[in-house]
Symmetry: C2
């Protein structure tokens, strides 16, 4: 799957993942009204609204990008109907041949991580039959529990040809509270980064490991250090756009050949129609606004990578 | 909710939480056969089997214990039908007046944590209506992202009278890999413990904060240190029984009045019928075996607490 991701990035010239984090405030009024009319102001109605919103986004950007990253919390908050919309979104993205990164940030003791891995990137057996319940291509995981909490995910990746992005340095303002603390003179995130490299050593694709890392765009200097600590790990970079990261900040996350990282934008793309620069599209044309925002983001990143050469 | 938990512990004399982690290997054959006959060897069949298994356990232990802790991964692995069984289990436990600790170990950047908090311990709005999708009483959360990833959970706890158990020192063998590393001469888990105390300072119940901590039974000396770092935090202690923790190891997690901690056992209770000591109950009577295991665990802990006085 890491090879497919790299190939698609080369083909689209867009190291971009669109975060499908459909907060209700982003969903245009006409979509909400139709969904509530059909299903009532219910969890089912909310789920229908976010699914129709997602579909509108995906249809307008799927040829431009290699991957999407649905954030499961935005679906899970609407309970079972919300999670059904999460699954429907994954299936639809697969139909469009997009790589799907499930942003689930799971992680637990070994036996529990094994269950999460089976449900999200692997398979479960029921009697004599086998099912792939959520079937994402990659998922994000949390490293706080250490190797035996991560290994079951890595094992499933090897077996199924799937991949991970493990939290190393997150994009949020307080991420330094624990992640930046010095241990033997080096920040915790570097120690985690080293482990990510070790966990992924045995999962190599053509040029990158299937076991990648999450490093926030909001911390470019740390990205530079981590790029060296984990040379074979693909880096998923959240925090671009709405969270404050800019194209010029991103160059350090990439290798010199322009590969090695994929940058996420959620609000900046899916709610582009709410920004001044794209307001002329109008709420009805939120999909076209998202497409224009993807094109602008691709140019911003390409420009920064060219300028850095 | 923390006050309800403390009251129920006093009333039952059982600082015990039963972990409802229904791995398929624990479910007795007759339950699986019936479920598969009715629903086929499908995800729905698996969900029905774990729900019937849970119901059998709950019916036999609900008067002995204050709380249950369903591990969502064991349900999530069966996709949507599995998550429906998770919700059904929560609702049924509420009918039995049990405190429900959702072991979900969620945690993300602020806006995403807010969505998890709404879905699990709070409410979501859809148009003019309000829903409580999963409606646990407490959930477990992961601290790796720091304060702004935790605060939305704390805010919902304050508003809704719910609670948290934040991972501090986990019970698994590799938990020390990051958690034990020294920062300014003290292990990371102590720094996290200090933050837990601070996050909870503003959420006090009658004697304990609604913001508790997870500290594994498998590390009793660390429990002793952490009990002092977080005097007002209730400690959820996993790792008893199957993971190796014993009653005598547990005394340091409690205050001298025998309160301050609640000990989880999952496999040791729900799959008691598979152990030699309870084999005489037979597979059909897995509920009675679980009841006997709860009684033995209560005596083990009570004995240890008495001996330590």
């Amino acid at each position: 799957m890491i090879d497919k991701l790299v190939e698609k990035i080369k083909k689209t010239h867009a190291p971009i993942v669109v975060g499908l984090d459909p907060m209700m405030a982003y969903v245009p009024r006409h979509i909400k009204e139709k969904a509530f009319q059909e299903q009532g102001e219910t969890l089912e109605g909310a789920a229908e609204a976010i699914w129709q919103f997602n579909k509108g986004i995906i249809d307008h950007v799927c040829d431009l990008i290699p991957a999407v990253k649905p954030q499961i919390a935005m679906y899970e908050q609407f309970g079972i109907p919300g999670l059904m919309a999460f699954k429907k979104t994954i299936d639809y993205c697969h139909e469009k041949d997009l790589v799907v990164i499930g942003d689930v940030k799971r992680g637990d003791i070994g036996s529990t991580s094994a269950a999460y891995a089976a449900g999200h990137i692997g398979a479960v057996e029921v009697g004599g039959k086998t099912y792939r319940p959520f079937d994402e291509d990659f998922i994000t995981v949390n490293p706080y529990l250490g190797t035996d909490g991560i290994q079951p995910f890595v094992d499933v990746c090897k077996k199924e040809g799937k991949g991970l992005f493990i939290l190393v340095k997150t994009s949020n303002p307080s991420s330094g509270e624990f992640q930046d603390r010095l241990i033997d003179g080096r920040p915790l995130y570097e120690h985690v980064g080293e482990k990510v490299a070790a966990w992924g050593a045995d999962c190599m694709g053509a040029s990158y490991s299937a076991i990648g890392a999450v490093v926030g765009a909001t911390y470019p200097e740390m990205g530079k250090a981590l790029r060296k600590v984990m040379p074979k790990s693909f880096i998923l970079v959240p925090g671009y756009g709405a969270q404050g990261g800019k194209g010029a900040d991103l160059v350090h996350f990439f290798h010199e050949d322009g590969l090695g990282a994929i940058v996420n934008s959620s609000r900046g793309i899916i709610a582009a129609y709410k920004q001044e620069s794209y307001a002329s599209f109008g709420e009805e044309h939120f999909g076209e606004a998202a497409r224009a925002a993807v094109e602008a983001m691709r140019e911003d990143i390409e420009g920064a990578l060219q300028a850095a050469k």
